[in-house]
C-alpha cells in the first residue's frame, strides 16, 4: 500500500503537476492563436513574440515595483504588474492591426499572405524585445516560492517520495481556470461574444445582420492580448524568461491549436493539455515508478524511457502529424468559434 502511494506521488510530482501547469500555459497561448484564426482567418506566427512582449513588459514593471519596495507579500510581485502588461500587449496588438493587418484584411488577401505578413511582424517585435531587454535568462518570481516543499511533504505523510508544489504552478492553474471560464462565458452568453461566433461562422451573413466587423476585430485583439500576455508572463514566472525560448514556444502553441482543431476554442484548450502531457509522459523515465509498483525480481534495470528528453520538442510535432493524419481537422472539428 505504501509502495502504491509512493508511486502515485512520483507520478503526481513529476508528471501531473508539471503537465497541468505547462498545459495551462500552452492552452492559453493556443486559445489566442485560435481566436486570430477563427476571426481574422490567418495563422499568426507572431503570437509567440506577442506572448514574449507581454512577459517583457511585466518583467520591466516588476523590476520597477521591486525597486519601489511595492510587493504583494507572499504572492509574486509580477501579479501586480500583470494588468499593466496586459494593457501594453493589447495596445501592441491593436497597433500591429492598425498599421499592418488591417490593409490586407480590406484587400481580402489569401491566408498565406497574411501568415507571411505575421512573420514580418514577428521579426519586428522580436527585434524590439531584444533591443529593450537583451537575450539573457531572467528570473523574476519572488514572494513565497513553494506552497508545499518536498521535505515538508515527506515529514507530513511519512512517505519516501516528496511532493513539491510551486506557488507559480498554483497561480498558473488558478488564473487559467478563471480566464478560460470567463472566455467561454463571454463567447456563449454575451451579445458581443455571440456576434463574434456568428462572424467566425459566416462572415457575409454576420455582416448582413448588422454586426460591425471593426468592433469584432477590436474585441478579438483585446482577448488575444489578454490571453497572450497572461500565458507569456505565467510561463516566465513558472520557468524563466528567455527571448529565444519564447521564439520556439510558438511551435508547441501552434501544435496545440491544430491538434485540438484550429478555430475551436475548446479544442485549443484540450490540445494544450494533450501536447503538454504527451511531451512530459513520453520523455519521462519511469524507472522510479515501476520500482515501487513491481516486486523485487521484476524491477526494471533501464530507465524505462520512451524517448530521451532531447526529443521533448519533436514529440509535440509527432503528435501533431499523427493527429492530422487520422483526423485532418483536429480532435474537435475546427474552423468555428
Amino acid at each position: 500500500m505504501v509502495d502504491f502511494l509512493n508511486s502515485l506521488v512520483v507520478l503526481l510530482n513529476f508528471i501531473i503537476i508539471p503537465g497541468l501547469s505547462y498545459g495551462s500555459q500552452l492552452a492559453l497561448g493556443a486559445l489566442g492563436v485560435t481566436f486570430v484564426y477563427a476571426i481574422l482567418r490567418f495563422a499568426n506566427f507572431a503570437h509567440g513574440e506577442i506572448m514574449s512582449f507581454g512577459a517583457m513588459i511585466t518583467i520591466l514593471l516588476t523590476w520597477f515595483f521591486q525597486s519601489q519596495n511595492i510587493n504583494l507579500g507572499i504572492l509574486p510581485t509580477a501579479l501586480l504588474a500583470l494588468p499593466i502588461g496586459v494593457l501594453a500587449t493589447i495596445i501592441l496588438c491593436l497597433i500591429s492591426d492598425k498599421f499592418v493587418f488591417k490593409y490586407y484584411r480590406h484587400q481580402k488577401s489569401v491566408p498565406v499572405v497574411l501568415a507571411m505578413v505575421s512573420i514580418g511582424v514577428m521579426f519586428v517585435i522580436n527585434a524590439i524585445i531584444r533591443i529593450i531587454i537583451g537575450t539573457e535568462t531572467i528570473k523574476f518570481s519572488d514572494g513565497q516560492k513553494f506552497i508545499m516543499k518536498a521535505k515538508q511533504f515527506k515529514v507530513m505523510t511519512g512517505l519516501n517520495e516528496g511532493l513539491a508544489f510551486k506557488s507559480s504552478q498554483a497561480i498558473t492553474i488558478i488564473l487559467t481556470i478563471v480566464l478560460l471560464s470567463f472566455t467561454f462565458w463571454f463567447l456563449q452568453k454575451t451579445k458581443t461574444g455571440k456576434s463574434m461566433r456568428a462572424f467566425s461562422d459566416n462572415e457575409d451573413l454576420a455582416l448582413l445582420s448588422g454586426i460591425n466587423p471593426d468592433r469584432v476585430v477590436f474585441i478579438t485583439w483585446m482577448i488575444v492580448g489578454v490571453l497572450a500576455c497572461v500565458a507569456g508572463a505565467l510561463y516566465g514566472l513558472d520557468k524563466s524568461y528567455k527571448p529565444i525560448i519564447y521564439l520556439n514556444l510558438v511551435l508547441p502553441v501552434f501544435a496545440s491549436a491544430i491538434v485540438g482543431g484550429i478555430g475551436n476554442p475548446f479544442g485549443a484548450v484540450i490540445g494544450g493539455y494533450v501536447i503538454a502531457f504527451s511531451e512530459i509522459m513520453i520523455t519521462y523515465a519511469y524507472k522510479k515508478f515501476f520500482v515501487y509498483l513491481l516486486p523485487g525480481p521484476l524491477e526494471p534495470s533501464g530507465l524505462i524511457q520512451l524517448l530521451s528528453t532531447d526529443y521533448k520538442f519533436a514529440v509535440s510535432f509527432t503528435i501533431l502529424v499523427i493527429v492530422l493524419l487520422i483526423r485532418p481537422s483536429g480532435i474537435f472539428k475546427g474552423k468555428v468559434l
Binding site: 495563422a43 499592418v100 498565406v112 501568415a115 527585434a127 533591443i131 501552434f254
Partner: protein, 457 residues
C-alpha cells in the same frame, strides 16, 4: 535561352556593383566571403521558389533539408571509422532490418484490414512492440559506437570520398526526406502545411543534434576535406608565388630595397592565397548556381512548367483537365527540397565543419522566405537577386546600424547609458530590418522586386 529585360539587367548590375563596392571599402576577401554565402542563399532561394513560385506549394522545412545536405557532406567525405563499425555495425544493421520489417508490416496491415478502428489498434500495438525490439539492439549499438574514442570520433564516420560528390548526395538525401514528408503532409491546407513542414524540420534537426553515432551531434564534425587547395600549400608552391609576383609586378618594382620587397611579396602571397581559395569556391558555386538556374528556367518554360502554373492558379480546374495535382505537388516539393539539400552540402563544404545546433528553423527559415518574397516568387532571377540582396543586408546591417546610432547619438557622451545599450544591441537591429523589408515589400510591391513575367501563349 531566355532574354533578360532591361530592369533585369539593372538588377544584375546592382548585384555585381555591390560586391565591387564592398571590395573597395571593406576588402576583397570580405567581399568574396559575402559573395560565397550569397550564392548559397541564392540556390536555397531557388529551391524554395521552385515549389512556392511555380506551384504554390509552401515549404517551411528549409532548415531540415539544409541539415540533410550537411549530413551528406559529412557522410561522403569523412574518413570511415572502422573501430566504430566493428563494435556497432551489426547492432545497427539488425535494427535497420527490423525497422524495414516494421514499416512493411504496417503497410501490409493497412492493406489487409479495412475497418479503420481495428486498423489503428493493430497498428499501434505492432509499432509499440516493434519499437521496443528495435530499441534493444539499437541502444546497445549506439552506446558502443559513441564510446569509441569519444573525444575525436564517437560516430560512424563516412565514406572518405571527395566532398564535391556530397553536393549530389545532399540533394538525394533531402529529396528522400522530402518524399516522406510530402507523402504525409501534402494533402493539408497551405497554412497547416506551413506549420507541419516547419515542425518536421525541427524534428529532423533535433535527430541530427542528438543521434551522436550518426552525426556526432552537438560535438560537431570538424576538419572536412576541401575541394579547393589550402592556403598553406599555395603559399609554398612556386607557381602561385610567381603568379602573385606577375600580378603585382608594378607595385613590387617600385620598392627598391630587396628585404622590403621580400616582405611585401610575402604579405601579398598570404593575402592572395586567402583570396584565391575564396575565389575558387566562388567559381565552383557559381557553376552550380548557373546550372540550376539554367534548368530551372528551362523547366519553367516547358509544358511541365505551364502545367505547374495552371495547378498553382487554379487547382480545381487543373484537376478537371486531368492533371494529377497530388502527384505533381509531391514532385515539385521533392525537387525544391533537393535543391535546398544541394545548398546545404555546399554550405558545409564552405565552412569545413558540420554544426547541427546551428540549424535553427525558426530563425533562418523565414530569412530564406524573405529572400523569395523580396526577390519575386516565380522568377528565378528574382530568387537569385533576393538571395543576394537579403544576405547582403543581413551582413551589412550591423555596420550600418552602428553608423546610424553613432550619428544619432553624436551629442551624447561616450559613457551615456542609452548609447551604450543601443550599441550593445546592434546585432538585433538586423531582425528589425528584415521584418521591415518584408512588411514594406508585401505592402508596396507584393509580387517582389523582379516580378514573375506574365506569359501569353
Amino acid at each position: 535561352m531566355m532574354k533578360f529585360e532591361r530592369y533585369e539587367w539593372i538588377a544584375i548590375g546592382i548585384m555585381i556593383s555591390l560586391f565591387i563596392l564592398v571590395g573597395f571599402i571593406q576588402g576583397w576577401s570580405f567581399s568574396l566571403v559575402i559573395l560565397n554565402m550569397c550564392i548559397i542563399s541564392a540556390i536555397m532561394t531557388m529551391g524554395v521558389n521552385i515549389s512556392w513560385g511555380y506551384a504554390g506549394v509552401i515549404n517551411f522545412g528549409v532548415m531540415g533539408f539544409l541539415a540533410m545536405g550537411g549530413l551528406a557532406a559529412v557522410i561522403v567525405s569523412y574518413p570511415p571509422i572502422r573501430e566504430a563499425w566493428q563494435v556497432g555495425g551489426t547492432g545497427l544493421g539488425i535494427s535497420l532490418v527490423l525497422l524495414a520489417m516494421l514499416v512493411f508490416a504496417v503497410m501490409y496491415i493497412n492493406k489487409v484490414i479495412v475497418k479503420t478502428t481495428h486498423k489503428y489498434w493493430v497498428n499501434g500495438i505492432i509499432i509499440f512492440l516493434g519499437i521496443i525490439a528495435i530499441r534493444h539492439f539499437y541502444l546497445n549499438a549506439t552506446a558502443n559506437i559513441e564510446d569509441v574514442n569519444p573525444a575525436l570520433a564517437g560516430f560512424l564516420g563516412g565514406l572518405g570520398l571527395p566532398i564535391i560528390f556530397s553536393w549530389f548526395v545532399g540533394g538525394l538525401f533531402a529529396a528522400g526526406v522530402a518524399f516522406v514528408i510530402g507523402k504525409v503532409a501534402l494533402g493539408l491546407r497551405s497554412d497547416y502545411l506551413a506549420i507541419v513542414t516547419l515542425g518536421i524540420s525541427e524534428i529532423v534537426v533535433s535527430v541530427l543534434k542528438h543521434e551522436e553515432w550518426l552525426s556526432r551531434g552537438v560535438k560537431n564534425v570538424i576538419g572536412l576535406k576541401r575541394p579547393v587547395p589550402y592556403e598553406i600549400d599555395l603559399q609554398n608552391s612556386d607557381w602561385f608565388i610567381n603568379l602573385v609576383t606577375f600580378l603585382n609586378s608594378s607595385k613590387l618594382n617600385n620598392v627598391i630595397d630587396i628585404n622590403d620587397r621580400q616582405d611585401l611579396l610575402n604579405n601579398l602571397v598570404i593575402d592572395g592565397s586567402g583570396i584565391f581559395v575564396k575565389l575558387s569556391y566562388a567559381i565552383l558555386f557559381l557553376i552550380v548556381m548557373l546550372i540550376i538556374f539554367y534548368f530551372a528556367n528551362k523547366a519553367q518554360l516547358s509544358p511541365w512548367g505551364r502545367m505547374m502554373r495552371a495547378i498553382r492558379d487554379n487547382e480545381t480546374a487543373a484537376n478537371a483537365m486531368g492533371k494529377d495535382v497530388v502527384k505533381q505537388h509531391l514532385i515539385i516539393f521533392v525537387i525544391g527540397a533537393a535543391i535546398v539539400g544541394i545548398a546545404g552540402a555546399m554550405l558545409v563544404t564552405l565552412d569545413g565543419l558540420f554544426t547541427p545546433s546551428g540549424y535553427r528553423p525558426l530563425r533562418f527559415t523565414f530569412i530564406i522566405w524573405i529572400m523569395v518574397i523580396v526577390g519575386g516568387s516565380g522568377n528565378n532571377l528574382g530568387a537569385i537577386f533576393g538571395g543576394f540582396v537579403i544576405w547582403f543586408a543581413w551582413i551589412e546591417a550591423a555596420p550600418l546600424t552602428t553608423f546610424i546610432i553613432n550619428q544619432l547619438t553624436l551629442g551624447l557622451e561616450p559613457t551615456n547609458a542609452l548609447k551604450l545599450h543601443l550599441l550593445n544591441s546592434v546585432p538585433y537591429f538586423r531582425y528589425l530590418f528584415m521584418g521591415l523589408i518584408l512588411l514594406l515589400i508585401l505592402r508596396y510591391r507584393p509580387k517582389g522586386i523582379i516580378p514573375e513575367r506574365v506569359r501569353h501563349s
